[in-house]
Structure formats: structure tokens, C-alpha cells
């Protein structure tokens, strides 16, 4: 079972990477970019075959380690 966790900075929290990226894209002529936010994508291969078990396990991992609740939010995507 492959599960993806998308961890991104919370709204309004400092996102130096996103800001630097947006200005770099503008320098390259991509003026149409209104905003850019940079986060982490963590791709996990899990032994289990049940989606519920996988989701619960990954949620626990997010709460404990993968995301810092003060500055980040996360989204779990079960791939297959």
C-alpha cells in the first residue's frame, strides 16, 4: 500500500522557500504566478493492505513526527 503525505506551511506562517520561489519564477518571466508555497511530500510504502488501517497509522505518524502542528498542516492521500 502506497500512501502520500503532503505537509505544507499553514496559512500566514513564514514560508521563506515559497516566497523565494515566487520571485525566482517572476524573474524567469512567469508573471502569471500569484503565489507559491513549498512543503514536503512523504511517500510511504506500508505493509498493510487495508486502507483504513493505513490511514490511521499514517495519521498517527503525522501527529507525532511528520508535521509540526505549530507551523504545518498535512493531507493524507492513499494511492493504491
Amino acid at each position: 500500500m502506497t500512501v502520500q503525505v503532503l505537509v505544507s506551511p499553514k496559512e500566514g506562517v513564514l514560508d521563506p522557500e515559497g516566497r523565494a520561489l515566487q520571485s525566482a519564477l517572476h524573474d524567469l518571466g512567469h508573471a502569471a504566478v500569484n503565489s507559491a508555497r513549498v512543503g514536503r511530500v512523504i511517500t510511504l510504502e506500508l505493509e498493510t493492505s487495508s486502507k483504513e488501517v493505513a490511514r490511521d497509522q499514517v495519521r498517527e505518524m503525522c501527529e507525532k513526527l511528520l508535521a509540526n502542528p505549530v507551523i504545518e498542516q498535512y493531507e493524507i492521500v492513499i494511492l493504491e
Binding site: 506551511p9 513564514l14 514560508d15 521563506p16 507525532k64 513526527l65 509540526n68 505549530v70 507551523i71
Partner: protein, 232 residues
């Protein structure tokens, strides 16, 4: 490093320095404490208990676990951390320097978090900081003084947790090197015994290597450790 030629606090403070895989400034912090007359114990992150009679604890700079995922994210799960939390709860003074500050935030011993520097580059240079919260050091002799201490980090921008406002201990003077909120360079917990700062006082102690303002800060920390030990 030559022995300190000024009288060290009496009786001798006994402090510990935590060592994680990837800690780099652990020996530097230990050497600075010894230079200032303290007895120092190195504590491996897999020990479950802290040594007896410890009066204070330093969490050193470096790249614990390679700073992977988030600086300090993995170190907080080391076996020694529950004992560190109890030590803090008992009111003993803790000082988290750079990576140590990040570890204390990740483990919840200090509020808020530290994110990448504004210009996405590591910064290593001397910088001036002001002491903002005199109460922290029980009015010791440097209220409002400006200290010149090196910073060396890549993730030093402090982000406060709206629910847990920090006691601001230090601010950068006349500049903001990394985009940190309100020029915050260091904070303390509510009770004032757990301290976290990005600058490295241990690298401003020996005059041969640079400034010595770091000694002022570390001496104040050792005094707090002695005071807490004597109040048992």
C-alpha cells in the same frame, strides 16, 4: 584552553551536556562550561536517566539526525527526553543553543517553532543581541546590555505559537539576519527556567578565538544552576 583566571562560582556548578547523533557543538559547550569553572557530564541520548546531582543541562548546537525532515524533529524522541522534561518541570535550568533550541521547541518544552532562514542560506557571523527579559536571570548584572555573539544556522527564523506566547529573552539589535518574528533571537518558557537561543555563547568565551560576551551568558546560566541546586 587556558584555565579561567577569575574566581569561578563556588561551590562548583555541575551541569550536563546532551549528545545526539549529529550534535557538533557538544564538546565546544562542555569546554566553555569547564573554562568557566563548572564540572561537566556528557549525556548520551540513549540514557534513560540523567546523572545524580545535576544542577543544569545544556542542549548543544549541531545537526542532530542530520536535521532531516525538520531540525530537531527526530531528536525529541530520544530515550533521554522524558528525563529532560522532568528535569525542566522540577525547575532546573535548561539552555538549548541553536539545534538545542530547535529540539526544545519540537519537544514542546518551549513554545513555537524555527523555520528556514529568509534567504535560504546558512549564516555564520558575529551579531549583536540585547537581553530583553531581565527577570530571567534574577536581575544579574547585564540588564539591557548588548552582547556580541556568533550565530551559525540555516533554520533560525522563530515562529510563535498563537496559543503559547513566548517570554522573549533576546532580540537581534539593529538587524534581522534571518527573517525571525519581531527580531527574536531567543525565548524562555513561562516559568523562565528553560531557555532557547539561536546564537552560540560557547563560541564567544575564549579571547583567542574571538569575543567573550558568551561567557557573560554562560556564567549567568551557571549561577542559575547553582541557585536552583542550593534551594533544594
Amino acid at each position: 584552553m587556558p584555565k579561567a583566571d577569575h574566581p569561578s562560582p563556588h561551590p562548583k556548578p555541575r551541569v550536563g551536556v546532551l549528545v545526539f547523533p549529529g550534535s557538533n557543538d557538544d564538546r565546544d559547550l562542555a569546554r566553555a562550561f569547564e573554562f568557566l569553572g563548572a564540572d561537566v557530564e556528557m549525556i548520551w541520548h540513549k540514557d534513560r536517566r540523567l546523572p545524580q546531582g545535576l544542577m543544569g543541562l545544556g542542549v548543544p548546537g549541531g545537526f542532530s539526525y542530520g536535521d532531516y525532515l525538520r531540525a530537531g524533529a527526530m531528536a525529541r524522541f530520544s530515550p533521554v527526553m522524558p528525563a529532560v522534561a522532568n528535569f525542566a518541570r522540577d525547575g532546573f535550568p535548561l539552555m538549548g543553543i541553536c539545534n538545542g533550541f530547535q529540539i526544545l521547541c519540537e519537544s514542546g518544552l518551549l513554545p513555537g517553532a524555527l523555520v528556514r532562514n529568509r534567504d535560504l542560506r546558512f549564516i555564520c557571523r558575529d551579531i549583536s543581541i540585547s537581553v530583553e527579559d531581565a527577570g530571567l536571570f534574577r536581575g544579574q548584572t547585564f540588564d539591557g546590555a548588548t552582547l556580541n555573539i556568533p550565530i551559525k544556522h540555516g533554520e533560525g527564523a522563530y515562529v510563535p505559537d498563537p496559543q503559547r506566547k513566548p517570554r522573549v529573552a533576546f532580540r537581534y539589535v539593529a538587524e534581522n539576519p534571518n527573517g525571525t518574528t519581531d527580531a527574536i533571537a531567543g525565548i524562555a518558557n513561562e516559568e523562565g527556567n528553560v531557555l532557547g537561543l539561536m546564537p552560540h555563547p560557547e563560541h564567544a568565551v575564549d579571547p583567542l578565538l574571538g569575543g567573550t560576551d558568551g561567557a557573560i551568558l554562560l556564567r549567568a546560566f551557571l549561577a542559575l544552576a547553582l541557585e536552583r541546586a542550593n534551594s533544594e
